[in-house]
């Protein structure tokens, strides 16, 4: 299995170039959905609104509740249907700290809120932190029994180590400390880089600080959180912490994992080969056709669930379904019009002998991930300039020639084409086939195409790219 551990905490543009062409690559499938934290402002229960989180069926939400008190506190989940992770943790000292953790797997209609206990008393600070993830195993969401800390004599709650048994876990840590005062919340160390949430509140005589963050662990084993900073170091302070390992879905196919990861972003998965995306002869997506039939294709469904279907309303411009999408090299094209806010990635399976072609581009703007021309010494073959890989071989923008790209792709056999990072922020979607202004067409087949909205995917971008590479390899192996 490919080692992807180096991606943790790495800026996206730096990390992606390090990926091998991942045939059977690591299935780091759990996707981050949302995080949230807030303080209880009174003894009234706290209701957290999740309606804008984009939750889907089988997403998991994990909630941590903490309170500082001169004794034990009630940190209960009020909403029904939640499972407590272990039991309440009690850091018994002059300034006690009590924490509890809960999880719930969303049903067909995901919850729009949850409610937890507010402060026990008006001067006893309380905080809630929540995370939502996608692609977690719904049968055994916790890979191993969570490890916990409940201690006195200091309020810096570095969470304990945990030893996982499944590759691709997400490690989620929460720590909370109490004190007579609190200037800096407990803050996760360097190996917990993602979506850090912290809350701190000093109510005069009692103070609370809580923090949480997560990391990916590509290969099962022991994960030891780096030392946290912040909190109250007084020996009168109590502290508590959780380390939880979320197990990736063990039953999902690569396509299902990628679909789960890309849901809710402007990413798309089009696979016109038989057995994947639904194809239609009309752009209204009402008349199904059979892949491999040779019928004109007016629509290719987007398997991501994001609704970014490839469409063509003019029959003369429609490719046929002979071999994936088979484009005529004259005028065929299909469009999916949408916007992204930053970098994108293209991964495609193509088969062609075209000597002068641009198979992919934006719809009506000037971007394209690559084209080629037989015999051309030009080193400008993408816009904006960006590197591509063909069957894993790197072609460097500004160095490799358009002729070299042609020689690699236009062999008449299925080739995997990847542009792993291209600035797509000013483009208007994806066109397959003839470019909008008549400059360059494409004669050949497109068997599969994945477009990744890297900016929208955020912390899930590297995992999505890895899964898309695996998916392409799996499909190619069947052709």
């Amino acid at each position: 299995m490919a080692e992807l551990g180096q991606q943790i905490g790495q800026p996206l543009g730096m990390g992606l170039g390090l990926f091998p062409f991942a045939v059977g690559g690591a299935a780091v499938s759990i996707g981050f959905v949302q995080s949230h934290s807030e303080l209880a402002t009174s003894t009234t229960d706290v209701t957290v609104d999740m309606s804008g989180w984009g939750l889907l069926e089988n997403d998991i939400v994990i909630v941590f509740v903490s309170e500082c008190n001169a004794g034990t506190s009630s940190v209960a989940m009020v909403s029904a249907g939640w499972t407590q992770i272990g039991s309440d943790l009690y850091g018994d000292d002059t300034y006690d700290n009590t924490s509890a953790a809960y999880y719930k797997i969303m049903g067909a209609t995901p919850d729009t809120s949850f409610t937890v206990d507010g402060r026990d008393g008006s001067s006893e600070p309380s905080a809630v932190i929540a995370y939502a993830f996608r692609g977690v195993d719904t049968v055994s969401p916790l890979d191993v029994t969570p490890t916990t800390l409940a201690a006195a004599n200091g309020g810096n709650p570095t969470p304990p180590a945990i030893t996982t048994v499944t590759d691709g876990c997400v490690i989620l840590c929460h720590g909370s400390g109490s004190g007579s005062s609190m200037t800096t919340a407990p803050t996760p160390g360097a190996n917990l880089p993602n979506n850090v949430e912290t809350q701190t509140e000093d109510l005069g005589s009692l103070a609370l600080g809580s923090g949480a963050a997560w990391a990916r662990q590509s290969v099962a084993g022991t994960f030891t959180p780096d030392t946290w900073t912040g909190g109250n170091s007084s020996t009168a302070s109590g502290r508590t912490a959780f380390t939880i390992a979320l197990r990736p879905d063990q039953g999902a196919t690569t396509l299902e994992q990628l679909t789960a990861l890309t849901a809710g972003t402007n990413s798309a998965i089009w696979i016109p080969l038989s057995g994947y995306s639904d194809l239609y002869s009309d752009s209204g997506r009402t008349t199904p056709i059979t892949a491999g039939s040779g019928d004109p294709v007016g629509a290719v469904d987007d398997l991501s669930g994001n609704g970014l279907h490839l469409l063509q309303a003019t029959t003369s411009l429609k490719p046929d379904a002979t071999d994936g999408l088979t484009l005529d090299g004259v005028d065929d094209n299909l469009d999916a019009t949408f916007t992204v806010t930053g970098d994108a990635a293209f991964l495609a399976l193509v088969k062609t002998t075209d000597t002068l072609a641009r198979p992919l581009s934006a719809v009506a703007t000037s971007g394209y991930p690559a084209d080629w021309q037989n015999g051309s010494t030009s080193t400008t073959w993408s816009s904006p300039a960006s590197d591509i890989h063909v069957d894993g071989t790197l072609f460097t923008a500004g160095v490799s020639t358009s002729d070299a790209v042609h020689d690699a792709i236009a062999t008449g056999t299925w080739k995997t084409f990847e542009n792993r990072v291209i600035d797509w922020s000013v483009q208007d979607g994806v066109r397959v086939g003839k470019a909008f202004n008549g400059f360059r067409q494409y004669a050949g087949a497109v068997g599969a195409l994945v477009f990744l909205d890297l900016a929208g995917l955020g912390a899930n971008a590297a995992s999505a790219l890895s899964l898309a590479q695996t998916l392409m390899a799996e499909i190619k192996a069947t052709l």
């Binding site: 002869s281 009309d282 752009s283 209204g284 008349t287 056709i289 019928d295 004109p296 007016g298 063509q312 309303a313 003019t314 029959t315 003369s316 411009l317 429609k318 046929d320 005529d328 090299g329 004259v330 005028d331 003839k434 202004n437 008549g438 400059f439 360059r440």
Partner: protein, 124 residues
């Protein structure tokens, strides 16, 4: 499920394009038929466009009507496809008298070259 022909190269003079667009907006079973002809052609590849071309499959019945029917019968066929939008006979005549049709499955670029035409591609 409609029965389609193989691809057919179709070339029309530029001054007939509005008539052709009107007819293909009806012949096309999808909604974008008015945009069927997108390949600009000229005698030398320059931007003085003299003709427009398409490389398209057609509904088999439409192809038969186009290639075998009289002007009046073809008009009736087109009008029956979209009864609320009668196409003037003059439009039908203008199109049918000037349209150049390749054979089913004939290579598009060979057919274009055989007419002494060259595709215009803008510089970029």
């Amino acid at each position: 499920m409609a029965d389609y022909t193989n691809r057919i190269a179709i070339i029309i003079p530029a001054n007939v394009k509005p008539d052709t667009d009107a007819i293909f907006s009806i012949l096309d079973p999808d909604v974008g038929g008015a945009n069927s002809f997108t390949v600009p052609l000229s005698s030398d590849g320059g931007n003085s466009i003299t003709h427009w071309a398409a490389y398209t499959r057609m509904i088999q019945n439409s192809y038969t009507a186009l290639t075998t029917f009289s002007n009046n019968d073809f008009k009736n066929y087109v009008d029956d496809l979209k009864p609320d939008n009668s196409v003037p006979l003059g439009t039908i005549q203008s199109f049918k008298q000037r349209v150049l049709l390749g054979a089913e499955g004939q290579d598009f670029w060979e057919f274009v070259a055989a007419q002494g035409l060259v595709p215009y591609e803008p510089e970029m």
